[in-house]
C-alpha cells in the first residue's frame, strides 16, 4: 500500500487546469439596464411574469433567466404574490 503524498499548495495549484471563462456569465441583467423593464416587475402583470416561470409553475433560476440577484429577489417576490391571488399557478396540475 503506497502512501499518498500530499503535494504542497503551490504544486496543487499548478496541477489545476485553468477554467474556461464562460461568456454566458457576462450577460447583463435585463432589469439593470432598463427602467421600463423594472416597472414590469409587478404581481398584477401576470403575462410578463409568466416568462419567468417554468411549465410546471416553478420560478426560473437566475442562472437560466440571466437576472441579477437583486432583481431575481424582486421578481420572485412578485411571482409569489401573484400566486396567492391566483394570477399565477403554484403548480402545473391546474394548467
Amino acid at each position: 500500500m503506497t502512501k499518498k503524498i500530499k503535494l504542497k499548495m503551490s504544486a496543487r495549484l499548478l496541477k489545476k487546469r485553468p477554467r474556461r471563462s464562460s461568456s454566458s456569465s457576462r450577460r447583463r441583467c435585463r432589469f439593470c439596464d432598463s427602467e421600463e423593464q423594472r416597472q414590469n416587475i409587478d404581481y398584477k402583470n401576470a403575462t410578463f411574469l409568466r416568462g419567468f416561470i417554468t411549465e410546471r409553475g416553478k420560478i426560473l433560476a437566475s442562472r437560466v433567466s440571466g437576472t441579477c440577484c437583486r432583481h431575481q429577489r424582486a421578481l420572485a417576490k412578485q411571482i409569489r404574490k401573484a400566486r396567492t391571488i391566483a394570477l399565477l399557478p403554484y403548480t402545473a396540475q391546474y394548467f
Binding site: N40, D42, T47, F48, E55, T84, I85, A86, L87, P89
Partner: protein, 176 residues
C-alpha cells in the same frame, strides 16, 4: 400621505348590486378614515390559475386609495375586518399593497375573458403586433397567425428524478 392598492378577487356569480354595495362599503371605510378613494376598477372575469372555493373563474377588482399617515393603521385594520367579516362570502382573496407616492399609476394587467372574446380576428391581431406585411391585402398567401393567449402548450416535460411512464417513445424535452 400613503397610497395603497387593494386587489380583490370575488366569486364569478357576483351581481351588479353586490358590486355596487362592495364599492360603497369600501368607500365608507375610506371616508371614515379621512382618506380618498382614487380609483375602483373592475378588471373583469378571469380564469383562475387554480380553483378557489370550487370556482374556476373569478372577477377581479382593483381599488386605490390615499390616506394620511396618522389614519393609515386604522384604515388597514378596518379593511382587514371588512374582508374577514362583512364581504367574506363574496370576496375570496384580497391583496393590500403599499404604493410609492411618486410612482405612476399606470400598470399592466392580463387580458380578461371579456376582452379576449371580442373579435380576436386575424387582422386586428396582425395590426396589434405590427405584422401588417402579413395582412391579406399586401401579400397573396397570408398564413394564419396563432393567438398567443389561447394556446395550450403540448410539451411533455420530464425532470431527471421523475421517470415518465409514457411508452410512445417521444423525446422528452425538459425545461429544467
Amino acid at each position: 400621505m400613503h397610497r395603497y392598492e387593494v386587489l380583490m378577487l370575488s366569486v364569478p356569480e357576483i351581481t351588479s348590486d353586490e358590486t355596487s354595495n362592495l364599492e360603497k362599503g369600501f368607500d365608507k371605510i375610506v371616508r371614515d378614515a379621512k382618506g380618498t378613494l382614487v380609483s375602483f376598477e373592475r378588471w373583469g372575469k378571469y380564469r383562475l390559475a387554480f380553483p378557489i372555493r370550487k370556482n374556476d373563474y373569478g372577477i377581479y377588482f382593483l381599488a386605490r386609495l390615499e390616506v394620511d399617515d396618522a389614519n393609515s393603521l386604522k384604515l388597514l385594520d378596518e379593511l382587514k375586518s371588512f374582508f374577514a367579516i362583512k364581504v367574506n362570502d363574496l370576496v375570496v382573496r384580497n391583496m393590500v399593497s403599499k404604493l410609492d407616492m411618486n410612482a405612476s399609476l399606470v400598470y399592466q394587467r392580463p387580458r380578461s375573458l371579456e376582452e379576449a372574446a371580442t373579435a380576436r380576428d386575424v387582422n386586428t391581431f396582425l395590426k396589434e403586433n405590427k405584422m401588417e406585411g402579413l395582412l391579406p391585402g399586401s401579400e397573396s398567401a397570408a398564413p394564419k397567425a396563432a393567438a398567443p393567449t389561447g394556446e395550450a402548450e403540448e410539451e411533455v416535460e420530464v425532470a431527471v428524478e421523475e421517470l415518465d411512464t409514457d411508452k410512445n417513445g417521444e423525446d422528452n424535452e425538459g425545461d429544467e
